[in-house]
Symmetry: C2
Subunit: 233 residues, 2 copies
């Protein structure tokens, strides 16, 4: 009889688990991901710059979420504004001594200026060569993040407490990777009542000054919707 309910029997304890954390941030009108510089490991050569996602092995005294948070803080020097699990992949050893299973997390980080030492914010449109599977992890993370953009108000975590609506629209455009129409964006935003106007205005060189808004979520119950056949691939 096939082994149909072997819960916990004969567990193989030989796996190592690596966590990769893709931290995204809006930088210079591009969506950028934080990469760390790692020395080339092959000997007998001048060390060339290699790039990789912040990564580490799971330790025995922490949960996956804790490990992801530790790795994010270690590479960034601060806690990200959001940190969520994207995807797990792996199994079947690749013949190397690397980890067998990789679990990818992604995070969002406001643009607060520079990058920590030995790290760099790199536009997702210009990614360098990366270790195996990390490219797919970044792609999966972006897809997962975009799926959450209109489920959770994550865009506001990338902005300071008060911001202009043009700022907010730019964040949405970077997160989604496409342009939005100004009037439609504002209409939908106002209808949602997610922001409230302050009485401050910001002048940014030329042009009319922009009013500052703050995030002020109402307590609303989620309303159901019909089937979105138009979203089917």
């Amino acid at each position: 009889m096939p082994d149909r309910y072997s819960v916990g029997r004969g567990a193989v304890r030989g796996f190592s688990i690596a966590l990769d954390v893709a931290l995204f941030s809006p930088r210079a009108h591009q969506l950028a991901v934080l990469l760390v510089a790692a020395a080339d490991q092959r000997s007998g050569r001048a060390a060339r710059a290699r790039w990789a996602l912040p990564s580490d092995s799971l330790r025995t005294d922490e949960s996956l979420d804790e490990a992801a948070s530790r790795i994010a803080r270690g590479s960034l020097g601060a806690a990200p504004a959001l940190l969520e699990q994207a995807v797990a992949q792996g199994g079947a050893r690749r013949g190397s001594d690397g980890p067998d299973v990789r679990i990818a997390y992604f995070g969002l980080v406001p643009d607060l200026g520079g990058a920590p030492r030995d790290t760099s914010w790199v536009s997702i449109a210009e990614l360098p060569a990366l270790p195996p599977r990390q490219r797919e992890e970044i792609d999966a993370s972006i897809a997962e993040m975009r799926a959450q953009v209109d489920q959770q108000p994550i865009a506001f975590r990338l902005l300071p407490a008060s911001f202009t609506l043009t700022d907010l629209q730019s964040v949405y455009e970077l997160l989604l990777g496409r342009r939005l129409h100004k009037a439609s964006f504002r209409r939908a935003l106002h209808a949602s009542a997610l922001v409230e106007a302050t009485d401050e205005w910001r002048s940014e060189g030329r042009g009319r000054p922009a009013q500052l808004f703050r995030y002020a979520p109402p307590r609303r119950k989620r309303q159901r919707r019909g089937i979105r056949f138009d979203l089917l691939t």
Copy 2:
């Protein structure tokens, strides 16, 4: 200096990895999940029936996807119509000898009648006591599956090649867990041109016979949409 880019260094090889597979199927107008009966492991007692998700440890010669497929086939006796990763959880040992990390997959299975020996289709509204964390895995799987319902035409995988529109609507209602309005459902479906009518009709006892349709996806490019602020929690 903090350990910021320790790719593959000091990997701990002590983890075991368990995969749980939640297989969903429409049964008796309920969404059901396949559970396997496991004998009570505590000794000195008459074995009471215990239920659990189909589960097994990851082996060293297979990938995560392969393991999930193996477990699904092992419990079901056939391959499911869909199998996708839902979530990984764990780390930090619970002091037991169980696996350290659990990775949940979910699948969809058409209603083809009975359940294999030692298994049972149980309505998700009447779940029995389950091993730790499996309840959360089922909840996460349902949420993930529902998020995919209008991204992928997964409902059609639960129906035979030809079906009535009432059948199709029932599948959508079970997958989404709520009632849909007949006229609106059909209007959206016809607008999508996802199905085409056959020239056959099915009479189901009383009432007017229903026309049979088949799934016939058009090749269409995905059109972008605006921000759905109204979906924000």
